[in-house]
Amino acid sequence: MECSISDIENKANILRLDVIRMTTEAGSGHPGGSLSAADMMAVLYFRVLNHDPSNPLWEDRDRFVLSKGHVAPVLYAALAESGYFPTEELITLRKLGSRLQGHPVRGKVPGVEMSTGSLGQGLSMACGIALTGKIDKKDYHVYCLLGDGELQEGQNWEAAMFAHHYNLSNLIAFVDRNRLQTTGNTENAMSLDPLPEKWKAFGWNVIIIDGHNVRQIIEACEKAKGSKKHPTVIIMNTVKGKGVSFMENNADFHGKTCKPVEYEMAIKELKEVIQ
């Protein structure tokens, strides 16, 4: 049964709650970029992905590569909430012996396709998986989530060129355009604008949406899946830290977790919007 828009919106906030719990319990990790991607992750895992949590290695599954591996918490939350492993395990994040490593590790957690954490490498990996799909005449799609700051790594643009050259229409990239990276505003660190024009120049279909509007995310995915020739990038305008007032647009919460009082406030705000 297909999840409704309001179900997905609710799921997104559940993922946010998981992220706050996990990172606070761990005392380290990256909440800001996890929260900005929560709506897109909820759309993927509860609506768009053709996957089977009880059979994570099903060969016709859609694939998802988390290129910005530091937001592992939101990936783990989405995997657990969709049934890949028990949600109770989420709070073991970053602890010695846990499967839930600080950055995703292929083969360690069901549903994690690739090892990431060093920025700029995921789109190339996704290209390889998409190319296999083309060679083997498979119908699956490959989704890849990129940070905006991450796009400063040159390898992304090598991959972008490759995807166009090999007509990887089965490849769909998301850019979490929250305009923040570790040191602050992306445009101060190393300007990315005009970002859509860069992707267009590399031959990609470009769709620009509000990354916190579930309907727009779904429609963008449907449009992207219809592409016959070109890879598609969905540039999501987002707010880093979305859903927790004091974290929103606050670069400090890129790699910092909640103190006890902040934790209480965050949980309260999120519980108010969860049905």
Binding site: L96, Q101, H103, G149, Q152, G154
Partner: protein, 319 residues
Amino acid sequence: MSEKKKLAQRDYYGKALATLAAKDSNVIVLDADLAGSTKTSEFKKVAPERFVEVGIAEQNMIGVASGLAASGKTAFASTFAVFASGRCWEQIRLSVAYPKLNVKIVATHCGISVGEDGASHQALEDLAIMRALPNMTVIAPADAYETYAATMAIANYNGPVYMRLGRSEFPTIMPEDVKFEIGKATVMREGCDVTIIGVGQMVANCLDASEELVKEGIEAEVINMSTIKPLDIGTIYDSVSKTGCCVTAEEHSIIGGLGSAVAEFLSQELPSPLTRVGTYDVFGESGSPNALFEKYGLTAADIVNAVHRSIDKKTEMKQ
């Protein structure tokens, strides 16, 4: 055990950079979106006009640094050790090491003490791959004070340097006003039964181990090998000639780092029993630094065990 002050090396790197910013107008510092973590932000506060942000683009950072150096600047480039050594290794090889340019690659967040971020962020092979490059000087200070002195020393040296620093606070073991000479090891403690050579954060563990060994009647000579290349072979030769056996200790793989460097020298010039403490050809994982030091065999107790092994071998060989 020691009640030494615990300080983070990266903080003292930041302090040294701030001093250099005021003192030497030729110094330029490059950052790849981690200034707050590597502490290059301290340089920016004093000399913002000579602080260059490159974004998340380590390969470009090294290329730009080489160009700055080729036109007369002293370029410091910093990021986490995995990225500083690994992501741009071939850029370092061609743009910096080959033309012998004045670029200082100062890498923070080395080794398994990075902790919770996990294996993707734990550089355990950087000494090996940097040491393999001709013209490269490789330094890993033992504490925060030595980091300050080493930063000033490499700023005065004209040529490529890779310097490895830790993230977390750990005990200081050198005097606050320590002087640093590139290529010169420090004998921290004299002894005649075994030579223990440590590097970086592990030197403190070597000293702790030597205190344990005293209780067993074993007198260890402890050496801080803060320059791994060029290796201070004179100090090693003198010490191992006296003690007859050796242990190395590093927060790094046993492949290619300090242990390998010492093994290469001893096997050719002074064959002696050697036991290497380090990670044994594995990636790390998430966990607290202390728990990881235990799990991966990097504690003072592990060094004590290694000493027993080397001394046993020495005894066997005499029989």
